[in-house]
Amino acid sequence: MRAVAVVGTGQTRHASRRDDVSQPELVHEAVCAALADAAMTPADVDAVLIGNMELFEGRALPELWVGAGALASGVCDTVLVVGFGKHSEGHTQTGMALTDPFWDRSVASGAVGNFALSVSQYVSERGVTEEQAARVAVKARRNAARNPHAHLQRADLTVEEVLASRVLAHPLHLLDMCPQSDGAAAVVIAAGEIARRHNPRPAWVKATATRHDQCYIGDLDKRLLRMPTLRDAAASAYRQAGIDDPLRDLDVAEIYEPCTYAELAWYEALGFCPDGEAGRLVDSATTEMEGELPVNPSGGVLSTNPVGASGVIRVAEAALQIHGRGGARQVPDVQMALATGYGVYAWADVIVLGDTP
């Protein structure tokens, strides 16, 4: 397989409403930034991959109107990958309700309710506290304050304030959950010598792994606790990248955490700590900016969540750290970075980026 690397990244300003731009203009903003970062013009790009969530934007077949063809590695030398979400233009609540019409559509509790259900099992088994979860929320919004693109930026957020925010679904408070954002992100991926020409420190793709699972909420026992897709994908990616101890070998992680408790559960699934130790890991500040393994210097999904772009943002932010272009959110001397993706417990993606091919 040819060595390929992320050579450029671009993001929009993310906000709850971007009334100033249409959906194509939103995508354009991210794409221009990514191409400029990679010192490329559209003519340098062989293919484009674009993703979103149709019903969250109220549009069908987005690739048609953004105007993109798509190909994967092996046939092209340079690929532009774009994700976008414009929740303010669609009806996410309706989109979330379009589940199996015979089984769970009539007994749905929405995204927050579904998270809360699995959180109740995680809390019951692991004994993590509300305060430990709130610490994740504080870390995310504090990190976001150093990220000019982030939607929710709160350098002064406190654990008390998280716990005092209203309960959406027991035990999840408003500030435990990700927001809905308008935004787009793009990365430019190039092969071999082209990558070297377009970035002095390309973020080489060391490993990728994706796993899917059965789709009904009740199919997977203790989903948050076990998360077999993420565990299996991480094990495969670590093997490919030669990672024995992720806490030691990784320098930074950008993980897709839809709520605070999910970040704690992912620490265990990703092997940052033994099962049951996630609460202690966050208490010890290991995953803070100054800790041994900073997790989500960008502020994560908890701070910025244009759903169709949130996965691409993870890859962009992980690559940015290897490029050394993280600005105020830069972690010093990053050689190995992790990015993860996630979809309603039904799938997980893991990508490892490194500073050498």
Partner: protein, 339 residues
């Protein structure tokens, strides 16, 4: 190409989407003399608004055997999904990949679904679907020429396609059928249908299966007013890409062609966009006239191409898929008989 499987097309398939998909996937695996255990990854094609489901791929994850495996969903024609799978194999990522596409036109009024692909400010308020886009395109293809001659030509082509699939519509029946979007007549259009298609692609040498030599795809600009509607330029570019990947000359002729033409004027667009096809019959099987399953039909063309290559003498073949209004997006696959 290790195996192919088909479920449908039927005007109305009363089964659920997972049942249609499972039937096609099992048929493809049986044809490839393999089972789900030997599949490394799956690529599916579906569109949420067609299926009335958010993240429409998760409804088929189990029946395509993708539990604890990598699955990729393409929100476009199934032939594009096959192209993606081929790239995964060529890149060395996976050894054997199952590709599945489904479309169930009977689930919803297609015009109202397709409207949602248009720009909400400039086009959606007009309330037009893709049928209207096809009418505009047919008019553009007609150009300054004699309208009667074009209509008569198209009626003859449509009649030939209908005959190939066992429907006895004569050219005069086609011309006498109601106008849908002028100059198009109802019987010029291939009928909407429900179907699922599956193919098994593998990097392992195959004794029987033809070899996929090249793939390419391309999209034109979105707004009909921004493109030259009288041309499928995107198909020309997709074809050139597929030739580049296959290492073949764009002028080399094909023995078998299965193009996705829903209307007779689209066959003329194919011939103009790809001169190598100008003398070919682009739908010897009757093509889409057996039924057009949304975002699945192109994978059906690939299945027909493989079947034809397997049953005939050594040959070179082309399969084509298209999606979006008036042929905005095109995918092309170039195949050769097994050596």
């Amino acid at each position: 190409m290790a195996g192919t499987g088909v479920s449908g097309p039927l005007a109305v398939d009363t089964r659920s989407i997972p049942e249609m998909v499972l039937a096609a996937a099992e048929a493809a695996l049986a044809d490839a003399q393999t089972d789900f255990g030997n599949i490394d990854a799956v690529v599916t094609a579906s569109v949420d608004l067609h299926d009335g489901l958010t993240a429409s791929n998760i409804a088929v994850t189990e029946v395509v055997g993708a539990v604890m495996k990598p699955e990729t969903r393409i929100a476009g024609d199934g032939l594009a999904a096959a192209a993606h799978a081929a790239c995964q194999i060529w890149a060395g990522a996976y050894g054997t990949v199952l590709v599945v596409a489904h479309g169930k036109a009977s689930m919803a009024d297609q015009d109202s679904v397709e409207q949602w692909a248009w720009d909400p400010i400039t086009i959606q308020p007009l309330g037009v679907g893709f049928t209207v886009a096809a009418g505009l395109q047919a008019r553009a293809v007609m150009g300054e020429g004699d309208p009667e001659a074009a209509l008569s030509r198209w009626a003859t082509v449509a009649s030939r396609r209908w005959q190939a699939v066992g429907v006895g519509s004569r050219p005069e029946d086609v011309l006498a059928s109601p106008v849908t979007a002028a100059p198009l007549r109802a019987l010029m259009a291939a009928p909407a249908a429900d179907a699922a298609y599956a193919v098994v692609l593998t990097g392992e040498p195959q004794r029987r299966g033809p070899v996929l030599k090249g793939v390419g795809y391309d999209l034109d600009t979105h707004a009909p007013g921004d493109r030259d509607l009288a041309s499928w330029a995107g198909l020309g570019r997709a074809f050139a890409r597929a030739c580049r990947v296959a290492g073949s000359d764009t002028g080399a002729a094909f023995d078998i062609v299965e193009a996705s033409c829903r209307y007779p004027h689209e066959e003329e667009l194919v011939a103009a966009a790809v001169p190598a096809l100008a003398d070919s019959d682009v739908a010897p099987s009757g093509g889409l006239y057996r039924g057009v399953a949304p975002v699945a039909a192109g994978l059906g063309r690939l299945v027909d191409t493989v079947d034809a290559l397997r049953s005939g003498p050594p040959a070179r073949a082309l399969a084509h898929g298209t999606w979006g209004p008036a042929g905005q997006a095109h995918a092309v696959a170039i195949l050769e008989s097994a050596p």
